[in-house]
């Protein structure tokens, strides 16, 4: 006990020392005066001490909800697997989710609906990046570039030619896929972290061009007054923002559902299996007759397609875009969605997107502290759940005993 207290005291003192200059010392550069805020450091020390004591004594933090979460995890993971759960359960859960999703705009405010659109947009982006990172194992840190391509394509087409959302959507997808291949070709030989930095560079190049080529992309001030989607060619949605948001919401729901459908089919398709195999071992893969180049390019193109579509939706949703929406941080957040959710796992990506989009959104009361909490939460999830919230299960065969029914895998 004494040992624990001493240990905690040491930790607390260490963190007080560590944070002292930045947390406690305030400089007034005009008057050249220095004030020391002792209370902040003392409170921090006390909090660290308490956490440390809790940690060491009961292992309370370690064994609490994160680990009990496993039951829920197994439940979710079985959802796509038709045999593991009774059809009744699947239908009820999916039905409840569907009812919730469909009825949301009727009981939620415009703001809430908007937040949900945002979350769903990130689900789409996450699922797209999941093809590249989760399935093919290619670390892409510039994914946001394709998102920007889609958004700017729609914005520019709309601005100059008055082209509507529904025509721009497939065009955005196609152009982004093209860019995916364009990026894919030079980086085919690169591996791991070299690939990561080149994709990061690519993302930054695209953003900088958007920012600096004023004549075409309007620079940092961006493009505004982008039209919202029309319904069968009628722009009735211009009249009421509330209705426009609800309409947008349903469009996004439908697109996310189709993404869902596509990605889960892809995972078990010939291409999906080739991608998974490529991730495990490139040489063995080539020996088995998988065309490495074609498969990798397919992964890049498919991933980019979804980002492009999400970009078009984003531009139509906010009706205003500028390069500040497409920074590296955005790529990092999308990658975090994939990893925190559990790489390669589709329900994981959904959970990851909701976690990372809704957490900062609903913690607005924390005010300035929300990004601090956000960063901290990312570290905590990774430390406690290094494989993500919903770990991806590899295809496994379960032995079913005649007497006792299905075993847990």
């Amino acid at each position: 006990m004494i040992d624990t207290l001493l240990k905690s005291l040491r930790t607390a003192l260490w963190f007080m020392f560590l944070t002292f200059p930045i947390l406690a010392v305030r400089i007034d550069s005009l008057k050249n005066a220095v004030t020391v805020r002792w209370p902040a450091v003392i409170i921090l020390g006390a909090v660290i001490f308490l956490i440390s004591v809790l940690w060491h004594t009961a292992g309370l933090v370690k064994r609490s909800w994160f680990f009990r979460f496993d039951g829920f995890k197994q439940f979710i993971q079985r959802l796509p697997d038709q045999d593991a759960l009774s059809p009744f359960m699947i239908r009820t859960t999916l039905g409840a989710a569907a009812v919730f999703m469909i009825s949301l705009p009727f009981f939620a405010s415009s703001y809430q609906t908007n937040v949900m659109i945002n979350a769903l947009l990130y689900v789409m982006l996450g699922l797209g990046l999941n093809i590249v990172v989760g399935l093919a194992g290619l670390l892409d840190l510039g994914y946001v570039a394709f998102y920007a391509v889609g958004a700017y394509l729609y914005a520019l087409l709309n601005l100059h030619l008055g082209i509507g959302f529904w025509i721009a959507l497939p065009m955005g997808a196609a152009l982004a896929a093209f860019f995916g291949i364009l990026l894919g070709i030079p980086v085919l030989r690169l591996k791991g972290d070299y690939l990561a930095i080149v994709t990061l560079g690519f993302g930054e190049i695209i953003r900088l061009i958007l920012e600096n080529w004023d004549r075409v992309f309007k620079g940092p001030s961006g493009i505004s007054h982008i039209s919202r989607p029309s319904l069968f060619g009628i722009g009735i949605m211009e009249s009421s923002v509330h209705h426009a948001i609800i309409y947008m919401y349903y469009i996004v729901v439908v697109l996310v559902l189709s993404t869902f459908f596509f990605v889960s089919r892809l995972k078990h398709s010939r291409i999906g299996r080739a991608l998974l195999a490529l991730k495990e071992d490139e040489i063995a893969c080539q020996a088995m007759g998988i065309d490495k180049m074609k498969t990798k390019l397919t992964a890049f193109a498919l991933g980019a397609t979804w980002a492009g579509m999400a970009g078009v939706i984003f531009a139509a949703k906010t009706t205003f875009i500028n390069p500040a929406s497409f920074t590296f941080m955005e790529s990092a957040i999308i990658l975090s969605i994939v990893v925190i959710g559990g790489m390669g796992s589709i329900p994981g990506v959904v959970l990851g997107a909701f976690f990372l989009v809704l957490l900062p959104e609903y913690f607005r009361e924390l005010g300035d502290y929300r990004m601090l909490v956000f960063g901290g939460a990312m570290i905590l999830v990774m430390v406690f759940k290094p494989r993500g919230l919903l770990e991806n299960t590899k295809p496994t065969v379960t032995y079913v005993s005649q007497q006792t029914g299905p075993d847990t895998p």
């Binding site: 020392f17 560590l18 550069s29 220095v34 040489i283 601090l372 990774m382």
Partner: protein, 306 residues
């Protein structure tokens, strides 16, 4: 006319050299950490930022207490920055990376990004979001007066410090016991452990060394730019990482070479072409070099074994 052109060229050359040596200092931290645990330490740029902030705060506090002697100011605030940055680097590794030693490769990367967001916002909340003027700690050296339009005092100090640090670092890694242990750990962790090397201690030591170098870079950038804010670490981190990869990540001479090439590319690119696309030059060069040399300029070219 010719003289002007040559003068301009030298100005850009020195500017690139200064910038490049700072990139190199930060890149060394990346490359050393990568060499040992194969992790892109995304929070490394934040350590550099914290180093700059600590130096600024120390200098301001000293000034408020009436210490004005430039040598005392520079050395005390510089040393405080290095100590604090090292402490942060050490703690960072213990909190965010050590629990993930055996996790899938991408997990520590995400906790690094989380750490980066956390530290940025910590400084933002505890201090301010505005740019803070960085005190001019170094008095102008009289003998640089005739060439001051090409090389200022700060540039001169940066170049000298970087050169000294590089020599010390090379000595540390090539000649000392702990340097040998570091190289052994980088080659094969399991074997190093079998030979009685405390791998955890070596990893901590690597983080501490890398962070100290970043802090030196931070202090010098602060002196050169004259202002800092909580966001400077992010851009510098990305650039330094680019430099490290350019030279071949994991290779120490590679990081220096990469940093210098990056510095010159930016300096000449902005000087002769256009200043809007400074970062585009840097990244385009990176993409070009990696296409022709996929493991960087001085990186080890590993052939996969079957």
């Amino acid at each position: 006319m010719f003289h002007d052109k040559a003068g301009y060229f030298f100005e850009l050359f020195i500017g690139g050299l200064t910038k490049g040596s700072i990139y190199a200092l930060i890149a060394l931290g990346y490359t050393m950490v990568y060499g040992i645990i194969e992790l892109i330490n995304f929070a490394h740029g934040e350590i550099y930022m914290i180093g700059a902030f600590t130096a600024l705060i120390t200098a301001a506090a000293l000034t408020a207490f009436g210490v004005t002697h430039p040598l005392v100011l520079v050395s005390v605030s510089g040393i405080t920055a290095v100590v604090y940055a090292s402490a942060y680097g050490y703690t960072l590794e213990k909190v965010a990376y050590k629990p993930l030693r055996n996790a899938p490769r991408l997990s520590p990367l995400i906790s690094a990004i989380g750490m980066s967001i956390f530290l940025q916002n910590f400084v933002l909340l505890a201090q301010t979001s505005n740019y803070i003027p960085f005190p001019n700690l170094i008095p102008p050296l009289p003998f640089l007066e005739p060439v001051s339009h090409i090389m200022g005092t700060v540039d001169f100090i940066i170049l000298c410090t970087t050169a000294v640090i590089m020599i010390l670092l090379t000595f540390l890694i090539r000649k000392t016991r702990i340097g040998t242990a570091m190289r052994a750990t980088a080659q094969d962790k399991t074997m190093a452990r079998l030979l009685g090397i405390d791998v955890d201690r070596i990893i901590s030591f690597t983080f501490i060394t890398g962070s100290a170098l970043a802090a030196v870079g931070g202090v010098m950038v602060g002196s050169k730019m004259g202002q800092i804010n909580f966001y400077i670490g992010f851009i510098a981190g990305i650039k330094a990482f680019t430099a490290a990869v350019l030279g071949g990540i994991g290779s120490i001479p590679g990081a220096v070479l990469g940093g210098l090439i990056l510095g010159w590319t930016e300096s000449f690119g902005t000087g002769y072409l256009t200043s809007d696309y400074e970062d585009v030059f840097a990244f385009s060069l990176l993409v070009l070099i990696l296409i022709f040399k996929p493991s960087g300029l001085l990186g080890r070219n590993t052939t996969p074994k079957v």
